[in-house]
Symmetry: C2
Subunit: 280 residues, 2 copies
């Protein structure tokens, strides 16, 4: 596996790959690899793509009071995992390589950023959009792989790729879960054993909500209310939101003919967890 | 020359060109071709690029009270001119092809958009940035050609290409002028004969300012004041601004070791004209 730290080296690597007419798959990550990341890499490798994993804890997507400093970092472990997995290249730039003096280009998707995670984390999705646009232009992949766990991020990126006419496909990869249902997340590492024990309740609440919908309830408010109530029974959990939305546009919607998603976000202590379930 | 109206056809065309390993040059325009546009096309053809000219009067870069409706349009004349000139493809999409339902991605360069044209035309440069990002992704050119006449736009695009890591070069092409010095512009067609007669005064004012700088004046304020005074002697002219700025960052600056530019914008009747001179 090639470890690449500079944009200059990355461009040279990508040019040589394209010269040889390989397809390129990009897996953008912030490191701290878990099974969810490995599922993205697996999917890219199975597609036969020359697989480039980016590992960059992107400062512009963290708010001033968020966990940028304490976000888990273990480059040697991540690098070893990716190499063992068969990844072709790991791009791990510094922040000043990505955002040199004078950088100012801002990308924003106002409708998507106004809701759910965007409302609670102002600026977060702008940072995600810009860093992904940069990575897409640098790596010029045929495909980029994103986890469904960060569902709003997935929709944001799909919308940006469509709006800005990037010549690539966004491949959504299903959420990987712990045996008790908790969605894999680098932030799970922040949880104390007591907090970890109640964390699966988010997925349980979403499953119950999905069952309610499957049994014919089509009013979002009723579904959301029940899930919030179920979560509130656990004193360690603070609910940020449970929302039923149109799966494509992410606008709040009652259930009908169109695909829908139930999005959830909770806090346990100082740790925020998000999850979602797609409804057919 | 291929005339292409849809994104689907453009992608197929670009794929076939890349398959044949030709380099691609992009000349983004809003049509109403004059010698300035032809100079961009000539430069691309001389570089041996398969030359794609886009012709799109981009609604998002016009303010609500600006001249979107009356902006000169003559597709048949433009198409004939480009074909005669040896251009390989003309991409002329509709607005709904470029901005379909649900489009929302916004690109902004806050420092550049806060000054000069950006201050007078809020939203203008955001529209320019997004449409250029779209065209860059669609055409994937090795080079794109921009006129120095729209100097702030040129700096904006260079900054965006650098910030978002587009794999391409922006080629600046010198301003083409009428024999009396007036910079070629599609908006010159709006001028009455009386207005046209006084329009070269903008370039004259910039030339005098440049001479003042060459003769050793390094205070921006003194240079700007003289040029504004000279322009104000003509009652048909209203001065929007005359500003000396750093040629790369476009920040206001006195003259020193770094390259500088003198930017000017005036109104004659309801027509806005801009021009500039680079100082070595």
């Amino acid at each position: 596996m090639r470890v690449i730290n500079t944009i200059h080296s990355l461009r040279a690597y990508i040019n040589s790959i394209r010269e040889q007419r390989y397809t390129v798959g990009l897996v953008p990550t912030m490191g701290a690899f878990h099974e969810g990341h490995l599922a993205l890499m697996r999917r890219s490798l199975e597609n036969g793509d020359c697989t480039v994993v980016s590992l960059f804890v992107n400062p512009t997507q963290f708010g001033p009071k968020e966990d940028l400093e304490k976000y888990p970092r273990d480059f040697n472990r991540d690098s070893q995992l990716a190499a063992d997995f068969g990844v072709h290249a790991l791009f791990a730039p510094t922040a000043s390589e990505m955002y040199p003096e004078g950088f100012q280009t801002h990308i924003s998707l106002p409708k998507i950023r106004s809701r759910y995670e965007g409302e609670i984390r102002p600026g977060h999705f702008d940072g995600v959009a810009a860093v992904c646009a940069k990575l897409f232009n640098l790596v010029q992949p045929q495909r980029a792989y994103f986890g469904q766990k960060d569902y709003q991020q997935l929709v944001l990126i799909q919308r940006m790729v469509c709006d800005l006419n990037f010549s690539m496909e966004i491949v959504p990869v299903p959420t990987v879960r712990e045996p008790d249902g908790l969605a894999m997340s680098s932030r799970n590492a922040y949880l104390s054993p007591e907090e970890r024990a109640v964390a699966p309740r988010l997925y349980l609440a979403l499953r119950q909500a999905a069952e309610m919908a499957e049994q014919g309830e089509h009013k979002s408010a009723a579904i959301e209310e029940q899930a919030v109530h179920f979560l509130a029974e656990e004193p360690l959990i603070k609910v940020d939101y449970i929302k039923v939305a149109d799966a494509e546009m992410l606008e709040p919607a009652d259930l009908g003919d169109r695909p829908a998603v139930i999005l959830g976000a909770i806090r346990i202590g100082s740790t925020r967890l998000i999850d979602n379930i797609l409804l057919k």
